[in-house]
């Protein structure tokens, strides 16, 4: 590490915050409110290629058509790929250190054709594998706010049973 020089000045952006307020849109909101109010996953189906997207988005990119038809999707699925995060970093959404280690994975929910990114409750890489079955674990009823984090994580299902 370079030693800190007193003759060269740096200033910090300080404690000031610049909060943003993002819109999920009507479709994204539908996905989030279904989870918040009913602990259910909804997808949206492309009228042209028939692919089902989760989370809900308005446009199918490859077909470039707008989608309308909402379809239920399972809260179980399988791992497409994963990593176990071990380095500490500050989460820019909270300003706090993200608790590590944690596993996050690309997850393919049964009945959908797209993937979502979420936590899995296992941090030993030896115990994780591509194709492993997982199931969503939701936050308690009084804690769900309409965020992807209303899903606490996905639980690795026992493969032996």
């Amino acid at each position: 590490m370079a030693e800190k020089r007193k003759d060269l000045i740096k200033i910090s952006s300080g404690e000031a915050e610049q909060p943003f307020r993002w819109s999920a849109g009507a479709d994204g909101s539908k996905f989030l409110t279904e989870i918040r109010d009913h602990k259910r996953f909804m997808g949206i189906k492309c009228p042209k290629c028939g692919k089902v997207y989760v989370p809900i988005r308005r446009v199918c990119g490859p077909c470039y058509v707008e989608m309308e038809e909402l379809v239920p999707v399972s809260d179980e699925g399988s791992i497409v790929t994963y990593t176990v995060v071990q380095f500490g970093f500050v989460d820019p959404s909270t300003g706090k250190q993200k608790p590590v280690p944690y596993c996050y994975a690309v997850i393919h929910l049964d009945g959908s054709d797209s993937y979502i990114l979420h936590f899995v409750d296992e941090t030993d890489p030896e115990k994780l594998k591509i194709g492993a079955r997982v199931k969503a674990v939701f936050e308690d009823d009084d804690k769900r706010t309409g965020s992807l984090l209303d899903i606490k994580h996905f639980a690795l299902l026992d493969q032996t049973g």
Partner: protein
């Protein structure tokens, strides 16, 4: 269609360093621009237009074109900023190329830079991703790339040690480049013993965070003779972008007709057909690839057609991509040795130009005539440029 043939005729860069508290961003940019103008034997007055780029968020300066106008040389001249994430530097090169190829400008200055030391890189990268669907779980570039590494190893049987060969190669090359940031005589053991950042990616597999800038002069065929160095011709460019969500590239493997890394495969198909590349390993004299971590140096060789799927480890272990091998990859030391993110893509083009001009010093590839440069970014986006010593027969897109 392109109206003019275009060459790189001047190269300037700062030394890539972990932190440059002695300069502001404007002054850092100025160092590279001054070097490029001197190298090309021209002054600010001769420049017709400027393209500049860096990563949004990283320095918290969002109007860099205007903010840096004293340093970038654009005072009272046309300038535009481009930012395409990790591919920014190569997109800056392509935008400068478009300016000149269109016939509207003869001499265009391309600038790309970053001061990674001024913010937390992982935090800055996370803010580039979707606030609803990505940010809650995402852990920046390291973990995003680790997802790819896990999949690659599972599908091909490649090992962490295979990847370590890439890191060792690039950092050995960097020892010959005084402008590189990391000068570490790395060994396979050192990579393997380095701590996991995000399994299966270790500290030794990752690029550093760097402060640095790069500037190039792009010139029309009508004026190339005014410059002291031989032109490094841009033979063709191609780029492909995918959807934005972090999990989308894995969907795209099935949905957009690619098999593996669709954006790179489609860009490669286009650019190789334009230039007539059918056997890249034997036709290119060198490649400067945006490999942000070691595993990329295996998998991307396959998407670029240097070997069959799953053949990356054998190719790299054979030494064919080392300096002195059939097609040296990253003679500059690559991204694994210097990563001032906004500048990184443009540095790939800069190294190709220096090599083709025979000005690459101790790391010179003998008689280099044809070179491939790539940019990587976002959710597996891909920019590609091919440069050559021989003037193309006609202007080409």
């Amino acid at each position: 269609m392109a109206k003019k043939r275009v060459a790189v005729t001047g190269v300037g860069m700062t030394k890539q360093r972990s932190s440059r508290p002695d300069v502001t961003g404007i002054e850092l940019i100025n160092e590279a621009v001054r070097a490029a103008l001197d190298d090309a034997g021209i002054t600010r007055k001769d420049v017709d237009a400027i393209v500049i780029g860096n990563m949004d968020h990283f320095e918290g300066i969002n109007y860099v074109d205007t903010w840096s106008v004293d340093g970038n040389g654009a005072l009272m001249k046309p300038i535009m900023k481009v930012c395409t994430g990790g591919t920014t530097g190569t997109t800056v090169a392509m935008a400068a190329y478009y300016h000149v190829a269109s016939g509207l400008f003869d001499k265009v200055l391309a600038i790309a830079w970053e001061k990674n030391s001024e913010s937390d890189t992982t935090g800055a990268i996370i803010t580039a991703f979707d606030p609803f669907w990505d940010r809650p779980c995402f852990a920046g570039a390291v973990a995003g790339l680790a997802l790819e590494a896990t999949q690659y190893m599972a599908e091909t049987g490649a090992t962490e040690e295979d990847a370590a060969y890439v890191a060792v190669r690039d950092r050995k090359h960097a020892l010959l480049n005084p402008y590189a940031h990391l000068h570490i005589n790395l060994t396979i053991e050192m990579v393997m013993e380095s701590p996991y950042l995000s399994w299966p990616v270790k500290m030794g597999d990752m690029c550093p965070r760097t402060d640095g800038a790069c500037a190039l002069i792009f010139a029309s065929e009508d004026v190339v003779d005014e410059f002291p160095h031989r032109p490094a011709w841009i033979l063709a460019v191609a780029d492909r972008h995918l959807w934005a969500y972090t999990s989308d590239p894995y969907v795209n493997q099935k949905m957009v007709g690619g098999t593996w890394f669709p954006a790179m495969e489609k860009a490669t198909e286009e650019i190789y057909s334009k230039v007539g590349i059918t056997d890249p390993l034997n036709q290119f004299d060198l490649a400067e690839l945006y490999l942000p971590y070691s595993f990329a140096g295996l998998r991307y060789m396959e998407s670029l057609g240097f070997c069959d799927r799953g053949g990356g480890p054998e190719l790299v272990r054979s030494g064919a991509t080392d300096l002195g091998g059939k097609c040296p990859v990253n003679p500059s030391g690559g991204v694994l040795s210097s990563n001032a993110i906004g500048a990184t893509g443009l540095l790939r083009v800069a190294e190709c130009a220096l090599q083709l001009q025979g000005r690459a010093g101790e790391r010179q590839v003998p008689n280099a005539r044809l070179a491939l440069a790539t940019g990587f970014g976002g959710c597996f986006w891909s920019d590609e440029l091919i440069l050559g010593v021989d003037k193309p027969e006609k202007p080409r897109g």
